[in-house]
């Protein structure tokens, strides 16, 4: 069946709502507006306003309300329009959602799913272009997912809802219009493992989310030059499936990490650090990171493009790693 990332996400929500009465969707404009990125379009008509619940502009309140509802037997899906606005609810996510289970000595699990958009690339300027999923991946108690394919857009939600603990799902804004074939019976996917999206033997390119397509494009270019790149999609940013990328690096002896976050202190640093800790002697060259420039993402198209990882910069880093400076 031909579908899009947006439709796959919608189908996943619909499916979950049908499977389990305790599931409901809540967030700003998820109802009559159809969702800021039209993900939930039509669901209000299908499920009614009790279960497709428009909220006021109160990120902390409705995210916290999701936590309370989850504590009290429901299975909420909370949508925050974008990761940029999620900072207003970060206290609730860190200090309540991620912490209550442990702080209560195991009494209060929080089976909550929070979805939000992340990333740049549409000239939305500094306050709408952050990639802060790396921060969330720092928080013990959370599971953090980044679907980069139609299968994952369709398949990650249900297992996330089945997880007894809070799960965050980051949807890159550049992916909503991604279209392609999806199996008619596509369903839940494994949310614990990274995936090798392209096998290769010369260099391991590690990425996730909105950068996957750029990285695959870079791999194609590299192939034309005789460099056979393996591309790994992390999929789960916390807990990290380090085995998959470490195995790969042990085979290819070269690694490039691609991450749309700002370089210093991004998730890419964690990946590079793990490689340096666990696979140091397998490396034939230093790990390279291709990240966003450390600048609030600018509006102008040429500046924004220059700020973000691109197939060209990814391929260049891979070449440098494989062939040397």
């Amino acid at each position: 069946m031909k579908t899009t990332y947006r439709e796959a996400l919608r189908e996943a929500i619909r499916d979950a709502m049908n499977r389990d009465d305790r599931v409901f969707l809540m967030g700003e404009d998820v109802g009559s507006y159809g969702g800021c990125y039209a993900v939930s379009l039509g669901l209000l008509e299908e499920f009614g306003q009790e279960r497709i619940r428009d909220t006021p502009l109160s990120e902390s309140a409705f995210v916290g309300a999701g936590i309370g509802a989850a504590l009290n037997g429901m299975r909420p899906i909370v949508e925050i329009m974008t990761v940029n606005f999620s900072l207003l609810a970060l206290d609730q996510i860190l200090n309540n959602a991620a912490t209550l289970l442990h702080m209560s000595g195991g009494q209060f699990p929080v089976p909550l799913v929070i979805r939000m958009t992340t990333g740049a690339g549409r000239q939305l300027a500094a306050q709408h272009s952050h990639s802060l999923e790396g921060w969330y991946a720092h928080i013990p108690g959370l599971r953090v997912l980044a679907p980069a394919t139609l299968e994952d857009a369709r398949g990650m939600l249900w297992p996330a809802l089945c997880d007894p603990d809070p799960v965050l799902i980051f949807e890159h804004n550049a992916l909503y219009n991604l279209s392609g074939e999806l199996a008619d019976d596509a369903g839940p996917v494994d949310i614990t493992r990274a995936a090798v999206r392209r096998p290769g033997k010369d260099v391991t390119l590690i990425t996730y989310g909105g950068s996957l397509a750029k990285t695959l494009a870079a791999a194609d270019d590299l192939a034309a030059e005789g460099i056979d790149a393996e591309v790994i999609d992390l999929r789960t940013l916390r807990p990290l499936d380090a085995d998959t990328f470490l195995d790969s690096v042990r085979r290819t002896h070269h690694a490039v990490v691609v991450d749309e976050g700002w370089r210093s202190g991004s998730l890419s640093a964690e990946i590079a650090a793990r490689i340096a800790e666990e696979a140091l002697y397998d490396l034939d060259a230093p790990v390279r990171r291709v990240c966003s420039a450390e600048v609030p993402i600018p509006y102008a198209k040429h500046l924004e493009e220059a700020a973000l990882p691109q197939p060209g910069s990814i391929a260049a880093a891979a070449r440098e790693v494989v062939r040397g400076g």
């Binding site: 309140a61 916290g64 936590i67 309370g68 609730q92 442990h102 000595g105």
Partner: protein, 317 residues
């Protein structure tokens, strides 16, 4: 009389418990931050006496009184402050983070205002399931300056969530007096501007608190939407064990001590309630506390090997 006695017992339990905690803090058996409820007992005792077991409670870092009045066993509370495995949070929470699923006590939250959104969500679940339950959410007048107070009051009023907001106005947020915290003098009036029923109560009078809680919970259960009680109270002791109380006069404290909620209830109960009755009650409470301290002291610590247990759920299949 039975009702009065129950309220009195609850207040005395809290008072003596808190006093013992202060001693145990001095002797180093309790550590971390410790916020006592002395002076405010009428609020917890009065409000929580009106709740059913199926209702839910959300509290703050000043949570001993709420926990005890809710029925969380004193042994488990004391053991928690000793950091023991038998504590109501298995030693992970301490004084500020008491939890008890059995009593639907959703904890001790130490981020000022942080419990309010959770309370709204607990109530939302009740609404979605059509259950006529109440969520009692305690917080201070200081918390009412936080953005979450506003967001949650609006949300609760908008969605008619069955929350009983209990604003414990003890006139200070740490060292910040009410008038330096809020531009408007009347919190209940402010709250009612959100479109919910809100009124002030003499929080030093447990019978008045109970009566207001009764009216409020009845209205909430009947689908009338959230209510807010501004409970005018006072903490007799410092904010925490670190506070030298530079910001208020001793005379002011003394004045409020004349309104001691325990003494006031005893006055009401006289002459039926005699000095002997009082002594009997005190010794009953004292036995309970001694017992709690002894079992807490004797209890085991969590094994260090279990440090990372409960970061995520233990899935049993």
């Amino acid at each position: 009389m039975k009702e009065h006695l129950d309220l009195l017992r609850e207040m005395v339990r809290i008072r003596r418990f808190e006093e013992r905690c202060a001693e145990l803090y001095s002797s180093g058996q309790i550590r971390g931050f410790l916020h006592l409820y002395v002076g405010e007992e009428a609020v917890a005792a009065g409000v929580l006496s009106e709740l059913d077991p199926q209702d839910a409670v959300v509290s703050t870092y000043r949570d001993h009184g709420h926990a005890l009045a809710r029925g969380v066993p004193m042994d488990a509370v004391m053991a928690e402050m000793f950091g023991k495995a038998t504590g109501c949070s298995r030693g992970r929470g301490g004084s500020m983070h008491l939890f008890d699923a059995t009593h639907r006590f959703f904890g001790g939250n130490a981020i000022v205002g942080g419990g309010l959104p959770v309370a709204a969500g607990l109530a939302l679940a009740h609404v979605l399931r059509g259950e006529p339950r109440v969520v009692a959410c305690f917080f201070g007048e200081g918390a009412a300056a936080e953005g979450e107070f506003h967001e949650v009051l609006n949300l609760a009023a908008l969605w008619r969530l069955p929350v009983l907001f209990c604003c414990e106005n003890n006139l200070y947020a740490m060292g910040t007096a009410f008038a330096k915290e809020h531009a408007a003098g009347d919190l209940a009036l402010r709250a009612s501007s959100y479109g919910l029923a809100a009124w002030s109560v003499d929080g030093m009078d447990v019978l008045a608190v109970k009566e207001s809680a009764r009216r409020a919970t009845e209205s909430i259960r009947a689908g009338g939407g959230p209510c807010l009680l501004e409970l005018r109270t006072y903490r007799f002791r410092a904010h925490s064990m670190y506070d030298p109380e530079r910001y208020r006069d001793k005379a002011e404290v003394t004045q409020w001590r004349h309104l001691d909620p325990i003494d006031r209830l005893v006055e009401v109960m006289r002459p039926e309630f005699t000095d002997d009755d009082r002594a009997a009650l005190e010794s009953e409470v004292s036995v309970e506390i001694d017992q709690a301290v002894a079992t807490a002291d004797a209890a085991d610590l969590e094994p260090v090997a279990d440090l990372t247990r409960f970061v995520t759920s233990e899935v049993t299949t």
